[in-house]
């Protein structure tokens, strides 16, 4: 294809597929047809539609994947009825939830009760824009990408807090309070764990972080501090997304359903969807930062092997890495018992935070001494 041949002479050798060219072609084509304002309007509508459909698709796939993974872990088959191997189960569920009556309890704070699902969805939707799926496929490429992502992703918990508070249900309220405690704690660890890679990469921009891993992923290149950071990031981000074993805000054996006890129909579905999208976002960030994002796997001097790897499209690399991390998170959830609220805080403040601080210093030291692979 034209795209590939163009790239090979100008860009460095390892990038075969550059979607930046595709997007700029579309941009040129659009601007040749209409004036600048309309071009950008059409582009934005395009971006919105593409990401919306992507968002919905990922949500459906992840719910299905979770049900199958947990079923296999539990010696079950999982959904098998709707479609072959039950692949249309989530679509059926979605339609069912859409057709359910929306209930609001009598004493609820109706405005906040309705606002809460907006917040969780907005938070996850804003975050998904920063993820670099391939070279050139990234809607929002800020130079403070990591910071932006942290700030946006912590918005979601606000929705959970509001949902729990507005329901006027005692279980929901306790669930909301718990999620407050959780966000207060684990925000720090996510930030500090990502900081380790920022130190190595020397940039907070996601596209540059990916570029810096062209010669090798940070989890190899940065060895000990990055591995520690990855473990901490996995723990803390699982907590951030309110997933088991940190699902204290839901805790169905203690608080029946926690913050979403009173939600029904599509409103409940949005909380559900947001949880899975957050999982996807966290996983793709982990893939981007620690496993090189869409960068193919390269081994030192095996030129033939590296070249072969280059031909696998970046989408495949990105999604397989993301799926691996998502699988890890599912594996955690279906293995471990839930933590208690004080243990949750102990884990953060007495274990993750001190280790993290030491780890940041260690990473800085290693960068200083140049003991990492380039």
């Amino acid at each position: 294809m034209n795209i590939i041949s163009q790239v090979t002479d100008s860009a460095p050798k390892y990038i075969i597929y550059d979607f930046g060219i595709l997007t700029s072609r579309i941009h040129e084509w659009l601007s040749s047809m209409m004036n600048t304002t309309w071009t950008s309007v059409v582009e934005m509508v395009l971006i919105g539609v593409v990401f919306l459909s992507f968002y919905a698709l990922v949500g459906l796939i992840l719910v299905y994947a979770e049900r199958k993974v947990c079923a296999f872990i539990q010696c079950r088959l999982g959904p098998m009825r709707v479609g072959p191997w039950g692949i249309f189960q989530t679509i059926a569920d979605f339609i069912k939830l859409l057709m359910k009556e929306l209930l609001i309890t009598r004493n609820a704070d109706k405005f906040l009760f309705n606002v809460a699902p907006f917040i969780v969805i907005i938070a996850s939707f804003l975050a998904i824009g920063t993820i670099p799926f391939a070279k050139g496929i990234q809607a929002l490429d800020f130079n403070v990408g990591v910071l932006y992502l942290m700030s946006v992703s912590s918005l979601g918990v606000l929705g959970i807090l509001l949902a729990g508070w507005a329901s006027n249900n005692k279980y929901s309220l306790i669930g909301a309070m718990r999620s407050g405690a959780q966000i207060v704690s684990y925000e720090l660890s996510v930030g500090l764990a990502l900081m380790v890679v920022v130190i190595f990469a020397g940039s907070m921009q996601f596209s540059e972080i990916v570029q810096s891993q062209a010669t090798g992923w940070w989890i190899w290149k940065g060895h000990i501090p990055v591995i520690i950071a990855f473990v901490i990031f996995m723990i803390a981000s699982t907590a951030e997304t309110n997933r088991g074993p940190f699902d204290l805000a839901e805790a169905e054996s203690e608080l029946t359903a926690g913050f979403h006890t009173e939600y029904s129909g599509i409103k409940f579905a949005f909380f559900f969807l947001a949880e899975y999208m957050n999982m996807f976002i966290i996983a793709s960030i982990a893939a981007t930062v620690f496993f090189g994002g869409w960068m193919p796997l390269h081994f030192g001097n095996f030129a033939a092997f590296n070249h072969a790897m280059d031909y696998i499209p970046p989408f495949v690399w990105f999604f397989s890495k993301t799926m691996f991390v998502i699988f890890l998170m599912m594996w955690f959830k279906w293995t471990f018992p839930r933590l208690r609220i004080d243990q949750l805080l102990t884990l953060e403040w007495k274990y993750l935070l001190p280790i993290n601080l030491v780890n940041v210093v260690l990473a800085a030291f290693i960068v200083l001494m140049g003991w990492y692979l380039i």
């Binding site: 010696c75 005692k170 088991g244 054996s253 203690e254 018992p337 933590l339 208690r340």
Partner: protein
């Protein structure tokens, strides 16, 4: 602000929350009215009776054979052991000596039932703690036992297999083979239980030093069974007053001294091993003999009062019968282990968190129909 709305002073506001009757972790329809301070339980009042069926009253109208099927429905997870208690009571009252075959089969069935009960408890306890996978592993292994039950007795959960004076049917020809298969299977799977929960650091921290019951309190509250033995209270009726074939087998009474939720957990897991040992000793040597002794079609107990104790999966199960010489008992009382175990919840719950309350309830292994009767 709230003071202005409600007229209640901030310091006097009480936060009451109903756990149950429709709550996932009460395993039935128990209702706990919990007074909370934030996450911490200040006090707790259990309300029972949501599944009260008046079984004791119903027994007064039934013959002794008909009482059996009601005992199934007390602690449905140790249905077989409850049946056995009534049968032993009638046999002792009429001074009927049952054959060794009956004794052996009863003991095997009781131990299978105990394992099945503990498996379900383990499964549900893990689920209470948030580890949902344990539920399926526990039920998967329990299925083997239920199949053995079904093949011989025709019932999976409620068997009504024991009859005063013997058994309903003889064992199925495959009975021994299937038990041996089960033992081979379960000896492989039981270590997984330990790997999944017992050693897990989260589980350990959630249960250690939670709901500690001292030996004095265990006796004082009448807590029996695994929960009592976790507090070093040697309350095993199988050892104290051996019945059926328990005097012929060699097994350990599991005793722990800690008395916390973890100890209660460990006692039950260890008891599964012990029960398997009992099964192994008995299953090969089931003697020949009749499976039903000769009994009159209408059983009338001599005038008097009878008490029979057996060790059910949750503790000491007792049947107290006053007979006036009629074919119906005059008064039947079932000493349910559940009610005594529940009464400690009051004592154990203050100053624990909600999550701990769930852990304590799970470790006490409450079965609500047993409490309500």
């Amino acid at each position: 602000m709230i003071e202005a709305i409600t007229g209640i002073k901030d310091s006097e506001q009480e936060y009451f929350i109903n756990m149950g009757p429709q709550h996932p972790s009460t395993h039935g329809v128990l209702r706990l009215v919990v007074n909370l301070e934030g996450e911490i339980v200040k006090s707790l009042v259990p309300h029972c009776g949501y599944i009260h069926r008046g079984i004791e009253k119903m027994c007064e109208k039934d013959t002794y054979q008909q009482v059996i099927h009601l005992t199934d429905r007390l602690d449905y997870l140790s249905a077989h052991i409850n049946n056995e208690a009534v049968c032993l009571l009638v046999e002792n009252a009429l001074e009927v000596e049952v054959s060794d075959r009956i004794k052996y089969i009863r003991t095997i069935m009781a131990e299978l039932n105990r394992i099945a009960s503990h498996q379900l408890w383990w499964a549900a306890f893990g689920m209470d703690m948030g580890a949902l996978t344990t539920f399926f592993y526990g039920l998967r292994d329990r299925e083997y036992i239920l199949n053995i039950f079904e093949q011989t007795t025709g019932g999976r959960l409620l068997q009504s297999y024991n009859r005063p004076g013997g058994l309903m049917n003889d064992i199925h020809p495959d009975f021994v083979k299937k038990i041996k298969e089960f033992i081979v299977h379960f000896r492989k799977k039981l270590p997984e239980y330990d790997e999944l929960l017992t050693g897990n650091v989260i589980f350990h921290n959630r249960t250690r030093n939670i709901g500690t019951l001292t030996r004095e309190n265990a006796i004082n509250y009448g807590v029996t069974g695994p929960s009592g033995r976790a507090s070093n209270f040697a309350c095993d009726v199988r050892k104290k007053y051996p019945y059926s074939a328990y005097d012929k087998v060699d097994f350990k009474e599991i005793l722990f001294t800690e008395g916390d939720s973890l100890a209660r957990y460990q006692v039950r897991v260890a008891e599964m091993w012990e029960s398997m040992k009992i099964l192994e000793q008995l299953v090969d040597g089931i003697p020949e003999g009749p499976f039903m002794m000769k009994m009159k079609p209408v059983i009338k107990l001599p005038v008097g009062e009878y008490y029979q104790r057996v060790e059910a999966a949750r503790g000491e199960f007792g049947v107290y019968v006053i007979s006036t010489g009629e074919k119906n008992p005059y008064r039947v009382k079932f000493r349910s282990p559940g009610l005594a175990n529940l009464s400690t919840l009051n004592h154990l719950s203050p100053n624990v968190k909600i999550a701990d309350l769930v852990a304590i309830m799970g470790s006490l292994d409450l079965v609500i129909p047993d409490i309500d009767r």
